[in-house]
Symmetry: C4
Subunit: 447 residues, 4 copies
Amino acid sequence: MWQNGGTAFKPDANILRHLKAKRQKQRVLAEVKLRCLWGHSKNFEDLDTFHRAIRPYLCLAQIFGIMPLSNVLSRDPQEVKFRMRSMGMVFTVVFLLLGGLKTIIVADRLLTVGLNAKNMVGLFFFIMGMIICASFVSFARCWSRLIVPWSCLDILMLFPPYIPPKRSLKYKLRLLGTCLSIVAMVEHALYYASGYYSYRMHVLHCHTNHSRITFASYVQKEFADIFEIIPYNIISVFYAFFLNGTFTFIWNFMDLFIMLVSLGLAQRFQQFARRVLKLANCFVPDALWSDIRMDHVRLCELLELVDFSMSVIILISCLNNVYFICNALLAIFTKLRYTINYIYFWYSLIFLLTRTFLVFLCASQINEASRLPLKALYMIPSESWSQEVQRFAQQITNEYIALSGCRLFYLTRKSFFGMMATLVTYEFMLLQLDAKNRRAGLPELCT
Amino acid sequence: MWQNGGTAFKPDANILRHLKAKRQKQRVLAEVKLRCLWGHSKNFEDLDTFHRAIRPYLCLAQIFGIMPLSNVLSRDPQEVKFRMRSMGMVFTVVFLLLGGLKTIIVADRLLTVGLNAKNMVGLFFFIMGMIICASFVSFARCWSRLIVPWSCLDILMLFPPYIPPKRSLKYKLRLLGTCLSIVAMVEHALYYASGYYSYRMHVLHCHTNHSRITFASYVQKEFADIFEIIPYNIISVFYAFFLNGTFTFIWNFMDLFIMLVSLGLAQRFQQFARRVLKLANCFVPDALWSDIRMDHVRLCELLELVDFSMSVIILISCLNNVYFICNALLAIFTKLRYTINYIYFWYSLIFLLTRTFLVFLCASQINEASRLPLKALYMIPSESWSQEVQRFAQQITNEYIALSGCRLFYLTRKSFFGMMATLVTYEFMLLQLDAKNRRAGLPELCT
Amino acid sequence: MWQNGGTAFKPDANILRHLKAKRQKQRVLAEVKLRCLWGHSKNFEDLDTFHRAIRPYLCLAQIFGIMPLSNVLSRDPQEVKFRMRSMGMVFTVVFLLLGGLKTIIVADRLLTVGLNAKNMVGLFFFIMGMIICASFVSFARCWSRLIVPWSCLDILMLFPPYIPPKRSLKYKLRLLGTCLSIVAMVEHALYYASGYYSYRMHVLHCHTNHSRITFASYVQKEFADIFEIIPYNIISVFYAFFLNGTFTFIWNFMDLFIMLVSLGLAQRFQQFARRVLKLANCFVPDALWSDIRMDHVRLCELLELVDFSMSVIILISCLNNVYFICNALLAIFTKLRYTINYIYFWYSLIFLLTRTFLVFLCASQINEASRLPLKALYMIPSESWSQEVQRFAQQITNEYIALSGCRLFYLTRKSFFGMMATLVTYEFMLLQLDAKNRRAGLPELCT
Amino acid sequence: MWQNGGTAFKPDANILRHLKAKRQKQRVLAEVKLRCLWGHSKNFEDLDTFHRAIRPYLCLAQIFGIMPLSNVLSRDPQEVKFRMRSMGMVFTVVFLLLGGLKTIIVADRLLTVGLNAKNMVGLFFFIMGMIICASFVSFARCWSRLIVPWSCLDILMLFPPYIPPKRSLKYKLRLLGTCLSIVAMVEHALYYASGYYSYRMHVLHCHTNHSRITFASYVQKEFADIFEIIPYNIISVFYAFFLNGTFTFIWNFMDLFIMLVSLGLAQRFQQFARRVLKLANCFVPDALWSDIRMDHVRLCELLELVDFSMSVIILISCLNNVYFICNALLAIFTKLRYTINYIYFWYSLIFLLTRTFLVFLCASQINEASRLPLKALYMIPSESWSQEVQRFAQQITNEYIALSGCRLFYLTRKSFFGMMATLVTYEFMLLQLDAKNRRAGLPELCT
């Protein structure tokens, strides 16, 4: 019986994936049948699946050259696939080339000046942009393997006995995306405002030729590295702004994407918990408990699949956030010249901290929702308590269900606290050093 | 059966609260009936409930403008509610206005001088006062939702089979409150004493005009920021002292309040443990075990309700304590001029450490008491061991019952040790830096 | 049935102790009977109990003024009790007075010079001596409550079905004690040797009057604080050396005592594990498993009793060791003048690290031995697996059996690793600072 | 029944080993019989055992003087034994003597110059080489006790119902060994290249006598300590290079060896998991579950045996890696003169980090593979769920299966993350200090 299928197992390290792949295929088939029964693909479109909710973000990402997928607008998750020859891929290659060029120019400049802890941050920003883009391309390759089983599970959980949530997933994701985008755009605008004001003041005080106080001359200084290569005209200015904007977009999109995926998963775990909680005081036959437990296993498998594909992105996101927060903390007591510089610095720091917090908060909802059914199981009266329920309880207790960064750490509140505790300790160290050697005032303006 | 009630579940993230709310309402009804049976509300007053024990502290808090509740003196917990139009709210608004003004003045002064690690502590103190006050207002809104089920549980646990504790809750809370108040008042008095002595000595040595050595002139210097705005007279002096006192009160009250609530909860968990321990060597029918387990679930639900409402206050309290301890550690090797300065510094530091320790100690009693029944369960003979007992044992083992700061950390001995270990490491770093660059003596007195 | 005995429970926080006390008394009675049956108290003396093994150490401790117990040489553990009016107490009071005086002198000297991170270590050493002595007096008060149940358990485990270990407990404790004493004495001698050599060289190079190069003059300099008060003669010299020796003894004895107690407990847990392991492949009736589980509970209760009494001593011991290790690490790159100084410094540091390691190693054996029976339980064939065995397995899995420092941390390998990791990080910080600001050579010899 | 065999247990602390030893001997006997049945020792040789896969590495190690075993080329694991009088031992003694001499010379040189944080690294390298060699000799003594039971288990798992993996163990180990060797050799070559280039440039700029720019003169300078003792000729040059190479080999071999052993163990755990996963949806009789559980126990026992023997090596390896990584991080912002210096520095650092990462990655596979069967157990339908399966599930849940460094820490992803987090924090501290006191440019070349 158990000697039959040695061939079914590719003997590589990732044994489990094969088992899952098999079961997922079965579910895909079931889903295709389901759709045929409905007849109308319009109905399918109306369902509040994660695919429908994430679609606008995938389109947006494609324009900026990350997540190159073909048929990204399609209603059918099976048609959204990674293809080497697609429009998305063209955008990606263009961005990788231009961005790579920019990165090389910045690196070259810094290496001639001499790399140190302070000016490294700029180079780090551009290199990170390249790495993030590459990770997303690699992630896009797994996308269809991910979204098809996810959609199946979504469809399963949009019909009774599961109750759809009051606020649709689409609404939640759109709300989060819109809010974060606005805040990020303000941050990006403040960056230019702060830079331009400083430039303006510098010219006003140190130069006699005040005709240079134009936005154009500021742009020329800000993007000096680009205008060394290509001449200054409206297209090249647009190009310079767009490239900078894209890097900032990528930087923010990574965190936003983790949040969106987390919300999508947490939603399903919450629906599942709600279903179990409703059964708390009812008599439930063993067969139903068995079904419920299998749904739990399916949810966990989906989570593992997502975790497996996104691990690298999560790891990079956390490294990135920790580096930029530390960098900002380092400069927290540096005196700045103008109020706008202060506004930009603090806005930027608080934005960074909030974004990091939101990533952990959204992702930790999965872990929290996954433990909720336990409360219902405690309520079950003695008569209804069976081996099946006990297995379910033990399964929930023993598993650790959360998104992770290459399983090095898990995105939970506890990890966030550990990270914050380290940062606070670090800041206190700086505080103490600051209390010792008080820095002098601002350096001379016109040098 | 389980398809019936989609409407019963508001589909927001906090699923469990609804279930609890429902059950709590049932218990409130049961309690109202209970009271009608007794007939005498006097009897009700005699019961050693947490509501009766915490009442004096709520009154006190109201005078200082935090916890604005109406009918705070009422014997019936259901009548103590948050109302926008109440005397408490007036006090709160007045304090928020005056305190806000003070904070703005202090902030303005510091920003003109230049904010650094050393002078930041004053501003932090006032801003924290504002934040704490706001958190308590927000907490007061949850109060009635909290105290009603708590009182029900209290009443339940004041009658057999539960044995009331030897020392009443009221006595314990009053003892703790009195001791801490006295110590805190001494600390506050020492602050003025230390300041006045330094001022006096400074005038004696550096000024020829010794007529300025009066307490009045010290007050004028100490509250210079206030007397810039309003003229110096007996009322404004009282106002200055009162405002300062209120901030100090709030600062201490927050920690005291966490301790009181912890004691109240720990008491009930201990009573519960005692009941279970008494059953260790008896034959107990399954139905009774089931009842006991349900009481445990009720206790846990109450704890979760409290934790949900107080999380923010606990988080702020810990942040606050850590900051002030670190700040004091930073100054531990600074040379001071007079003995009274040393006395104030060390008294203040030890007070701070003790208060923090007490917060963790009181709160960790909940966690410890919650695990005690396990010992009794180990003693149960084979014959009496049933599935119900096993479920109870597993429940206690798997749950983590403790107050938390937004679930980022739990108030347990282990967390306290982690916090202390970090602080000790930090202090050793300072020690080492101190051993390197020995500071010179005291700066000139008269500059 | 369960309403009968409210009076049996003193309603204080330490509920469990009463239950234990009761059961322990029953066992004491059983043991007294047992002894009557044997008739010969000589036989009792021959038993390898912990009481017999620790006795010489208690005698030694008494001479140095710690652990004041009366009838310390008695063969009957019930007769060894703390009494206010006893010879031991006299020694203790004398030591506390003389030591207190010495501490005050040292403190006074340092405060006039100015306390800093470097000279603090001396004062810390003496204050610690006082605190340790006080903790041991407080511990001595619990001794009889501790040793009587322990002896009962010892007697129980010295007869079949338990197999006495090959090496007797007495032998093990004596071996450890002897080795550590010799190493500690060498360390103490090296301290004087290093001091004397430095003194001698200093006189040789900086003074013309070489007649001062005598041991007597060194002693006068070393104990200058004492000879300021009492005249220099043979008795006062002896007194000076004795007092210094006593402080060093106390310092070492604390750690040794924790090791001895740990070994005593670990021995019993190992015997217990051996018994269970022998049953691995046999058929064992449920009643026997129940007996075995009760023995396990008894062992755990003894451990808890010991932990409750010794917690403070363990906490102090760890704090003490961490402080002195950090202090030594701080000075690791300081240049020393003579080879003997280097020998003393490194010998002392390695001794300190080894002693700390041994404390954790001995204590962690308890935790490790307590988990051994689990291995046997895994081996039990399906037919013999019963609810009783399952309860036993779950009990071992869920409990955390180890000595602790006020339950803030547990004496296990993991804690030791955490401590060492922190120390190594700390040392790396120092290393880095050392790499930056290279210190100049040695300071001038003759200043 | 259970009173019969007190003699079977040597009453030392390591109780479990005896039980294991007994069972392992039984298995050895079974295996010898098995071999007799086959008749052909050639067949035995064809089996993909760990012994066959590790053999080439043992031979290589022997030439460099570590792992002195006799009959290392034998096909029979029982014949590979540690013998005091063997060729391997001669190599080892020679290396220990010559290496010891070199270490003493280096130590002597440094102590005269003055040991500090920067030049310590060289001495540390040589002392570590000596310690590693000694640990391997001590490990070689346990080898035969380790490889015989391992081979038995290997043979067991190479036949049905276990499925041999697609890629043979031999192939995997050879691939890993080859890759790492090449990368390590490049690193070693770069060391000389970087040194030679710096030397050449130094002579070119600072000396008029350019005839000294030969490789021979570089060698004389590089190995100045050796040529002070023995004259410069082709043999002594070879000796100098060989000794240096051997130290580097040992340094790398230790990490490689841990990886190889981890892969060997992880392979078996993966095979085991695959077998269990195949049974997920089948009906399996209890007797088979019992057999499977016993195989699991056997695997765990093998792991414990390996862990017990290799603990010290793992501990030393981690300490070694942490020290060298920290040392490199310390120098990360030091300006270097030539590009080849940068190439060597960064190549070396990345190599070090990768090697450390690989050690943890390989070893963590054991832990991960050991938890895989749990997934299959969750899938078992209610009807097939029996006590035997439940025991299996609880066993996997409760045990912590991983290689450890003296049980102070476990080689898992979590530990690696902890280590990296500490290193990153450390680096941020350096970063901050670097940002403060900017170092001046390069020191003068010709001094």
